[in-house]
Symmetry: none
Subunit: 225 residues, 4 copies
């Protein structure tokens, strides 16, 4: 999180997880004085939070419950994370990985399609979907979480999609003049909306319809079908 009060675990690189080679490539201070941070703690906490959220919803993922399930001290958790929602967000980021990028050599429409399908898969997935729903709910009550969600989740993903759209505009496949952000919204918001309101998820056919509608709707009026 950007607005977090404490140094975030994500910034930590020198974790003695037995694979120092991997982390050593990053900026590891060789002369770290005190006891090194335990990798077990971070992993266990994040995993516990994810499991609790999935099984019992946001209410279940309290700091207390996470601490108990992860067999980690509550104090330690409070040292590294500002709230349980921050842990859940971290677990979400962990399990999702980097923003989607389309397979090389794909057309703009194919790239859009790939992106949208991948996003829908994440939001629909029973592993990641509930985490995101919880995180967004927590953001409603906590400005720091709002910032974190935007900075670490939403904006990077929107940016990737917006780049594709802009490319399509440059290629002349989409008529200029339409607000790129609006196109991104039209494509991206339905899956979120369905998740956050607990509506039935978009299936493949619906996704196709959505893509076709938006793509067709913003093509150059003089373009051939």
């Amino acid at each position: 999180m950007a607005a977090r009060r404490k140094s975030n675990i994500l910034d930590i690189v020198s974790i003695n997880d037995g694979t120092p080679g991997a982390t050593a490539t990053q900026t590891v201070q060789p002369g770290r004085r005190g006891r090194p941070r335990s990798a077990r703690v971070r992993a266990a906490v994040v995993r516990a939070a994810a499991q609790l959220t999935r099984s019992g919803g946001p209410t279940a993922a309290t700091v207390d419950a996470i601490a108990k399930r992860a067999a980690v001290s509550r104090t330690t958790i409070y040292k590294w994370w500002p709230s349980s929602a921050a842990i859940v967000l971290e677990g979400l980021l962990d399990s999702v990985g980097d923003p989607i990028n389309a397979p090389p050599g794909s057309s703009c429409k194919e790239a859009l399609e790939h992106h949208l399908r991948a996003l829908n898969a994440i939001l629909t997935d029973t592993t990641t979907g509930p985490l995101l729903r919880d995180v967004v709910a927590a953001a409603a009550a906590d400005p720091a979480m709002t910032r974190a969600v935007l900075d670490q989740w939403l904006h990077p993903r929107r940016a990737a999609l917006a780049a594709i759209v802009r490319q399509a505009v440059a290629h002349g496949e989409i008529r200029d003049g339409t607000d790129v952000e609006v196109i991104v919204d039209a494509l991206v918001s339905p899956p979120y909306y369905r998740l956050l309101f607990a509506l039935s998820p978009l299936d493949d056919a619906a996704l196709n319809d959505l893509l076709d509608t938006v793509w067709h709707g913003c093509r150059r009026s003089d373009a051939l079908p």
Copy 2:
């Protein structure tokens, strides 16, 4: 809420609010023995919840705080509402009124446009927007709230919009085959998405772009511009 444990105030009709004529048209039980329910209480509670949510976010609208601000006993609140979020939802419904219907004699596109603008106005409004955001967040943790939001907020409004879209299909203005629900999603979800993620709201131009894109995208391919 469907799954609520207690009779919901929304079901109540006989409130001695001084205007018995209006409520009397509804199904008032004539032979209610004891002391009638106070309209002052309901109004004060709902108003207090809305004010607290607006000023301090969901965290501020606790039952205790609502009781204190409304000068109503906590016991009374628990008697009529299952949770503070339920109160907020009620306040939201109060301040929004009935689902939007377009001015008579308007075309399908005009009706869609009117509906979308009205919805965006509600979600953007500083009075109602925060209430909805709070309610949706609460729904993530409470299945009863999820049901309530769907039944009392989302489905009625979707239905109104879907009816217009279906009419457009019937009129041949929109090509058949496209999933009506998808079109509704494409139109409706962006404002929600922007609200729930605390993004900047859609302005008029963006709304026009959105409408144009979707309308253009789902018109019959052979239709004239």
Copy 3:
């Protein structure tokens, strides 16, 4: 306690302990609005605190432990007592009862002797002694407890003894001019001192010696032996 932040349980009179007749003689407000206070709670808490202090010392009598042993909610305890030491003090006062008064018709010296023996018995007793030691220790860290100990324990007992001494002065049994408070100190402080430093308690012979020494030391110089 005088400096207590909340109304003290000792002030409460209308406790529905099943014997309303007894308490009804005191100033019971008939129209107490809310749920009446449970007598079980007070008794259980005070007893638990005393037991824990006796068996495990001051460290054992935490609010948590008291709550668990008394089967009373921590919240309820915090509502009525400012600290665990305050509970222990209350238990001490309960088990000791009112300040000592000598049997009627006794001489001044007999009254002093009676008082001192009774005090030593209390401080030596395994039931009350540890409670007092704990309370005094807590007072070292908490000004409110200091005040409470003085107001509710020490001053009343000193006053009773000082009254006897002053009477002896009036009767001419003790020479005038000596500071009454000093005589009280000389008599009273040795048992306290032995308790607080965990020295072996004063036995009967030592008590006699002490009484004789002080009595003899402050008699009128011209008095006959």
Copy 4:
């Protein structure tokens, strides 16, 4: 402390405090390998503990606070002292010095008087009094501290006084038969009692009264005034 788990600093003699001559007379292990213990650390820790106790009471003198104020690592403190109270006791002993001995050539009564005045001065002093009060309070919760207080504070001082009293008995100034310990108690306990209960301290006049009373009370009955 006898029952302490770690070697206590009080036992330590080889501190390189720049005055090796003084400490070298004591049992210094000559062949101590590795880095010698820092005198700066001991001094800073003890001083910090004393200052914190004086300014903020026993609550303020936590190990953490001492470490921070002394600019010494917590680990180091835990290595040498079993508890913060042990540090405070050490500071008390440091600042008080050896047990009092009367000026040479003084009579028994003068020696007693000198001793009592010196004791009262220590207990009344704002530098040492709070330390002792804190230490006694800690002893109530910690048997090791109880032992330490007795062995290092109370017993040596009582012994010195008892020796004077016994001498007075031998000189025939005090009647035989009275328990020496009781006389010591009668003299010594009032100042402690006043300190531990936070009563106003004994002034010079009160001290004179006390001395006179006890001295007069335990003189031989046939002795001349």
